[in-house]
């Protein structure tokens, strides 16, 4: 048995250290490192009403503070401290905490330490000791602007890189999923001139129709894909009985025609809040796969959907008795344009869209599959 888990947590922890643009109203976080407690006290006392001030007497304390409170945007540091200097400290955090803006506080400076501070410490400003409040406020405001600009830039760069990677994959798949069927249809049209037999012609028209439908489905799932990437959530109370009822009626026809038993079991006690659209997308894709990838030779074909809503989270199981997923493929099934099977060709969008929708709802998905026996998807979604 193989299993794979996709959860939204990596993305969340990733965004931890960067600024959330919606929360700009929060106080700017400032760290001040100085070996003299009086300086720290004075600094905090005069600035605490406007800024969130953290202080540290030693470099290890400062490092612990940076670790514990992500989102510190400006760091002030005294140059002359016992043991290591301010420059040493700034140099040390250059790689681990590249984003916060560094400002050197110093009473005494020679040319050499200025050069070191700029070249090694990568500092933004010098402020002379004893400091005037206006200088400090000016430095924080300017530093924070710089910090925000750099943070936003790195978020944008990551988004851009991701969009670019997907575009690359997209360009690659277009040839197969759009130009491919088009070339097939064009070939069929060319051939139509030569075909005399009406039955052969009808067979070809039937295959042409299948190709057109496949292309249409591809375009529709592309639409889903873009909606998921850009859309905002519309949170409402979710009635799972009603939602699953919709699917029950949609799939009952398919269930009869293909001889696949379809059972649902729903238990919902409390109120569950989420967005209908991504939930529909998740269930529709997984159910359609569960019906599509049945073992044609099997006698007891079934699809089972179980929904359990408890303690503000919903757990959904979608089980099928289908062909299963190859162990070496299971880690890749959620990737864009990945296809595991040649019997029934999909668009390569389906499970990727499912994953995106689950991440959007802060949920997790797990898959367990045994080849030739069946696959179970387990989805957990928190109430929002």
């Amino acid at each position: 048995m193989f299993s794979s888990v996709v959860s939204s947590s990596p993305a969340k922890s990733y965004y931890n250290y960067v600024i959330n643009p919606i929360k700009l109203a929060e106080k700017v976080k400032v760290l001040y490192v100085d070996d003299e407690p009086d300086n720290l006290f004075g600094f905090k006392a005069s600035l605490r009403s406007d800024y969130h001030i953290f202080t540290a007497e030693t470099i290890p304390q400062a490092l612990a503070c940076l670790h514990d409170y992500p989102g510190i945007s400006v760091i002030f540091c005294d140059q002359r401290m016992p043991g290591r200097t301010g420059v040493d400290f700034f140099e040390e955090i250059r790689v681990t905490y590249p984003l916060p803006v560094r400002i050197m506080l110093t009473a005494y400076t020679d040319a050499e330490s200025i050069i070191d501070a700029i070249n090694k410490g990568n500092i933004f400003r010098f402020v002379k000791k004893p400091w005037i409040e206006a200088d400090i406020i000016g430095a924080i405001e300017e530093g924070n602007k710089f910090y925000l600009a750099v943070s936003m830039l790195s978020i944008k760069n990551i988004e851009l890189q991701r969009a670019y990677d997907e575009l690359n994959k997209f360009a690659y798949s277009v040839s197969h999923d759009i130009r491919g069927p088009l070339a097939g249809i064009l070939g069929a049209i060319n051939l139509a001139n030569e075909i005399k037999d009406v039955d052969e012609m009808k067979e070809m028209l039937f295959l042409m129709k299948k190709s057109v439908k496949k292309m249409d489905a591809y375009v529709l799932s592309m639409h889903d894909y873009y909606n998921l990437q850009r859309g905002e959530l519309k949170i409402t109370k979710i009635d799972f009985k009603k939602l699953i009822g919709e699917f029950k009626s949609i799939y009952s026809v398919l269930s009869k025609v293909s001889g696949v038993r379809f059972d649902t079991n729903i238990s919902q006690d409390g109120i569950f809040r989420s967005d209908y659209a991504p939930l529909r997308l998740i269930f529709n894709n997984l159910l359609s796969n569960a019906f599509k990838y049945q073992d044609r030779n099997s006698k007891n074909k079934s699809v089972e959907m179980i929904v359990e809503v408890a303690k503000s989270a919903a757990t959904i199981y979608i089980k099928d008795t289908g062909i299963g997923i190859l162990g070496s493929h299971i880690g890749e099934i959620f990737n864009l344009f990945f296809r595991s099977n040649s019997l029934e060709v999909g668009s390569g969008f389906g499970l990727y869209n499912v994953k995106s929708a689950i991440i959007k709802l802060n949920g997790t998905i797990e898959v367990q599959s045994i080849l030739h026996q069946g696959t179970t998807f387990t989805i957990t979604i928190p109430s929002i």
């Binding site: 097939g184 064009l186 051939l191 595991s340 040649s342």
Partner: protein, 135 residues
């Protein structure tokens, strides 16, 4: 057109298999045409087929982008076959060429001795004729 070849068509698209097969039937006489929608299965059938059973030279019309085993993988596996089996076959890549195809991949596939040429879909009489002249 009278020719002494048989054809194997490997393409994951049902419509493309149908069109290529019908086209070959209409343009040639007395040839065997076998179609496969799965390259792995095609490979197996070719492997089982001993030379004595099938003395007619066979042209394999091969699509490139297929799920599971794609055209590139097929050629790589096919190249590992014994020489006396391979000498009976010529591969012609029949595919949709787009800018998304990596030129290095296309170039590489042509370096295999069993690969004869690349033809852009759909197949026409002119393209078939020039393929048959080359083979």
């Amino acid at each position: 057109m009278y020719i002494e070849f048989s054809f194997i068509v490997i393409d994951d698209s049902e419509l493309d298999c149908f069109v290529t097969q019908k086209f070959l039937e209409l343009s040639t006489k007395n040839v065997t045409i076998t179609t496969f929608q799965n390259a792995e299965y095609a490979l197996e059938v070719i492997r089982e087929n001993t030379v004595g059973d099938n003395p007619v030279p066979t042209i394999i019309l091969l699509d490139l982008q297929m799920p599971f085993m794609n055209g590139f993988d097929f050629v790589e596996e096919f190249e590992k076959f014994p020489a006396e089996l391979k000498k009976n076959y010529r591969i012609a890549v029949l595919t949709v060429l787009t800018s998304a195809n990596n030129p290095a991949d296309i170039h590489k596939i042509l370096t295999y001795p069993t690969v004869n040429s690349i033809i852009e879909k759909p197949l026409t009489k002119e393209k078939l004729l020039s393929l048959l002249i080359q083979v």
